[in-house]
Symmetry: C2
Subunit: 537 residues, 2 copies
């Protein structure tokens, strides 16, 4: 039951474009739910799109809010209607500039601590800019009475958003709608830290590159890192969200509470990826929800893959944001591939390396899932984004990792300690160590056996992660929330939550009682022995 949307667009409120379907939304909800989506661009959009497509195939009507010139979120290509905003258009440029700068700085990590801190500063600058843009978008929406009226009339059943940025959270609160998260991060923190107890003694902060079994000094570093992350999280929250929340919802409303009020958290991990840690009843793990059995390849690709004979194929892709590597690195990579008997399919949008071998095929875009699921695929050379790694786990393909930015180091660290990946640093990458890593993962059974065991564990679930995600989104629509799964403990103060007031009272009580006992004994002692002493004197 597919629903086709009229693509006639209306000009409203100056330059804003609203597809006609948005206006018809309230009329079109007879067969399905009505879902308002506030997504995040880039790789986050890649996985949000999977949820949207599945929701649409189940008969739900989708409205996506996007910046008018978004590179990733297209207005016409998918079965959803869009509301295009005038603000937030610099989001893509901001993140692409950051990516370029990070690639430069990353190369200096092994020689310069300054580069490391500079990268941290760049990340914070980019995040500040991005969050400012999101709050600008919300300002635009909240101040546009016609648009707000349109939202009200459309009678949405749920807001689906990625709380890495807070737009959807603010909008859901304003519209009084149930809220479902497609989540891994809330601003700067792992979503778990916002929703579930996360003892720092065995829950490593992303960035520490540690397992859940830490030495004393790792635990010290983990606490310090948690303080830094919390500080960054708070800085952004206080700079952009808190003023907005106070202006629009009053001084007693706190942004964190709006986040914690979400009905269901669809977490983009599972425990073949994540270390075991506490969770909450309204957290649903959907790691690998985007994975599916591979489809046949286009004929020319299939011919290329088959030509690898018994040697098999290497797939290389560095994610949504990075199509091009610096030229010298690209040359080293190409030269290394040229030495191997395998065939290589490499997503590379830059200049064709001069050392490229006949065995290597460059593509602007590759059907990653279908290639990873191909029986001839031997190794996945990846940057360590969650999407790609989940696909590698699903299809049981071992990894050579080249982390570039964000959580990629930490994701690849998780793969390395599970014995399914070799990880290299792009600053020290050369033909020798790249070849060594590739040969290890190609020829040592250790990596393939481990990833296939991980794949068996990942696939052995009572239902598919995407079906589970759909069930819970639809559950929230059916029941107008999931209050019975959500703790209200976030409304307590820090002192109440940790029972510090109670412990203080009990300690004071014990001390008072001890004091009374001591004084009584002392008093009796004085009466009995004091008198005797006086007599003796």
């Amino acid at each position: 039951m597919y629903y086709t949307f009229p693509l006639i667009t209306l000009e409203m409120s100056g330059l804003r474009l609203v597809t006609l379907a948005a206006l018809l939304c309230s009329l079109a909800t007879a067969d399905g739910g009505n879902v308002l989506v506030f997504p995040v661009e880039g790789s986050h959009w890649v996985n949000m799109k999977v949820l949207i497509q599945e929701l649409h195939s189940r008969g739900h009507h989708i409205t996506v809010i996007r910046p008018k010139t978004s590179m990733f979120i297209k207005a016409e290509s998918l079965p959803y209607q869009t509301i295009s905003l005038n603000t937030g258009n610099e989001f893509d440029a901001n993140i692409m500039n950051f990516t370029t700068r990070m690639l430069q700085l990353r190369r200096e990590f092994h020689t310069s601590t300054a580069a490391y801190f500079k990268a941290g500063k760049e990340l914070m600058m980019m995040m500040h800019h991005a969050h400012k843009l999101v709050v600008d978008q919300m300002q635009e929406i909240f101040e546009d009475a016609k648009l707000m009226q349109l939202f009200q009339e459309a009678k949405y059943d749920v807001v689906l958003t990625d709380p890495c940025f807070g737009g959807g959270v603010l909008l859901a609160h304003r519209l009084g709608l149930p809220l479902v998260f497609n989540v891994r991060w809330t601003i700067m923190e792992d979503g778990h830290h916002t929703v579930a107890p996360s003892p720092l003694s065995y829950v490593p902060i992303p960035g520490l590159k540690s397992t859940d079994k830490m030495t004393f000094w790792q635990r010290v570093l983990n606490v310090l890192l948690a303080l830094v992350v919390r500080n960054n999280h708070m800085t952004i929250k206080e700079s952009y969200y808190t003023p907005f929340v106070h202006r629009h919802f009053g001084p007693d409303v706190h942004y964190d509470e709006l986040v914690q009020a979400a009905d269901v958290w669809l977490m983009r991990t599972d425990f073949t990826f994540e270390f075991p840690r506490p969770t909450m009843p309204n957290v649903v793990y959907m790691g690998g929800f985007q994975c599916k059995p591979s489809k046949p390849l286009p004929q020319h690709l299939e011919d290329f893959v088959q030509s690898s004979a018994e040697h098999g194929v290497i797939i290389m892709s560095l994610g949504t944001l990075v199509g091009t590597l610096p030229e010298d690195i690209a040359e080293s990579v190409a030269a290394t591939f040229a030495q191997l008997p395998q065939k290589v399919i490499w997503r590379h949008t830059g200049k064709r390396p001069s050392t490229l071998g006949n065995n290597t095929l460059l593509l602007d875009w590759l059907p990653q899932n279908d290639l990873l699921g191909h029986p001839k695929t031997r190794v996945f050379v990846a940057h360590g984004g969650t999407n790609g790694l989940q696909e590698a786990i699903y299809h049981g393909v071992p990894i050579v990792g080249l982390p570039l930015m964000f959580d990629q180091d930490d994701n690849l660290f998780r793969m390395r300690v599970r014995g399914v990946a070799k990880v290299l640093e792009i600053g020290t990458l050369n033909k020798d160590n790249f070849l060594e890593a590739l040969k290890a993962v190609l020829y040592e059974p250790f990596y393939r056996e481990n990833v296939q065991q991980l794949s068996r564990l990942h696939r052995d679930q009572p239902m598919k992660p995407l079906d589970r995600a759909m069930f819970w989104i639809e559950f929230v629509m059916r029941h107008k929330g999931a209050a019975h799964l959500r703790t209200n403990s976030y409304k307590m103060s820090w002192i109440q939550y940790h029972s510090i007031d109670v412990i203080a009272l009990l300690l004071v009580s014990v001390m008072m009682m001890s004091l009374i006992c001591i004084l009584t004994v002392k008093c009796l002692w004085c009466k009995v022995f004091g008198g005797r002493k006086a007599k003796l004197d």
Copy 2:
């Protein structure tokens, strides 16, 4: 595919009886898994039996360890083989005596605080006795070389046990087998307290009769109650399990660690029953797993139920252990029922009350699930055991509660705050307040609407609780455990777990640095102004 077991029994090791099937077990595992069950008697057995029957219907082979004269766990009536022990036979008598004493003491609760504390003492005495019996059973098993060899040869895939008593935990560790819990309690504590963080600020200790939203004084009481429960738990653990563990596994092994090493915790609640609280990846909620659509009633019962016409039927049962109420209370109950236009089906094994009306049918046993699922059923008069309450939620029948012992007060409190039950105290029960409670639940739509909403929430799950339980038991059998879902944090000391060592280090560091700063400033001050002062002098 049902498997019938030869019922010839062998006499081994003196009086122990082992069915022949146990010896044949290792030969019989071709089509299914091999499950060793160490159950708990009474109502705990009622729900363990549901899991066993389902496992058997899926082709698994079940061996149940039981005391030879068990009242509940029969050797012949079900499709499992049994290993009958000489020890532990006083278990049933111990619990039945306790039940009788509790019924007497309970009547005095409203007038006597002493009775309340006496009941607590009786509970502890009963628990001490019961845990001693379980450890005696383990002693018998561990010291019987032939039986241990038989266990080894049977090649079990998993131990399924209720960790309310520790027999199965000890046996699984000795045999090196994966461990699955059918759980609500671990000795005296809610299982959650053993496996997941349970902040006392919003997780009420059973017995407090509080929701997850507590006042300051409720939180104080909750912490005090937690200390009492922990103390009781530790007393029993140290009295029976710790000496046994040290004797058999060495001084470095701790009983709590063996419990926390369980692969999967099948929790006999869900969040229509329990308040939201932190959980762990290896905790699986199967509340209501025993519930199923009602089957048609036997003709005489159906005729009786239909004769109620538009008034409908009241069902009364006080659980597995309590068939008979004290005579005067039974008279009040019977007289109240006689005043109503409804028909009543009452599980009552005692003397027939003289005031019994024509509308009331007494039965020794009643098909509770089929009656609760009957469209004519209006009210369930229940003692508040988890099994019965889950059935009431499943079928959407409001409750009049008469709590008698154990967790029943707390269970019924949960139903009361959800607006699906009126709760009475047996010591103050009379015709007037019983009639009032019945009439409220019969005629005020509030209770029925709430319980039906709760029923809708409970039934709206991605898969049936029993199927989920089966999936995870079979998962543990397939993968020989579920290590990737289980945190090893329980191996940390209390100080490490709560990062107290790290916090201490950081505090000392900050203090040292402050001290150095102060001393430096002081030193400089002295140098600069001390010198000037000297000159001035």
